[in-house]
Symmetry: C2
Subunit: 73 residues, 2 copies
């Protein structure tokens, strides 16, 4: 899996959220969201942005480019 | 265009690079790269990461989530 980003699972669990809850926030079905967590589908940029906002982190953190979890704004 | 990120064009021009040069760096053809700049194709995460590295910036800057161009590492 070229585009596997395990941090979206870690962030979800750190926020005590279920896949169902995150899927609802993203306005999609749980199985679709699940494919992002498992690295089966690449995360589209609009979803990446929504996840960064949900978890108050950066897209760089989600993508593993930085270990700094906090926002860079 | 839902996923239009004009900064990848601005960054390329600020670095005095042609679409052809950036496309070669990304190991793709120029017309394919051009579709990202024009917002016709969403930017896949692996390309987003390579562009951030090329321009020594963050994916957050490319996606317009921050105006801070410098790296957050």
């Amino acid at each position: 899996m070229d585009n596997y980003y395990p941090r979206i699972k870690d962030l979800r669990e750190d926020h005590d959220m279920t896949q169902q809850e995150v899927a609802e926030y993203l306005m999609m079905k749980q199985p679709q969201y699940s494919r992002y967590e498992r690295g089966i589908r690449d995360i589209p940029t609009d979803i990446l942005i929504k996840l960064a906002r949900l978890y108050k982190t950066t897209t760089d953190y989600i993508l593993g480019l930085t270990d700094n979890i906090s926002t860079n704004k």
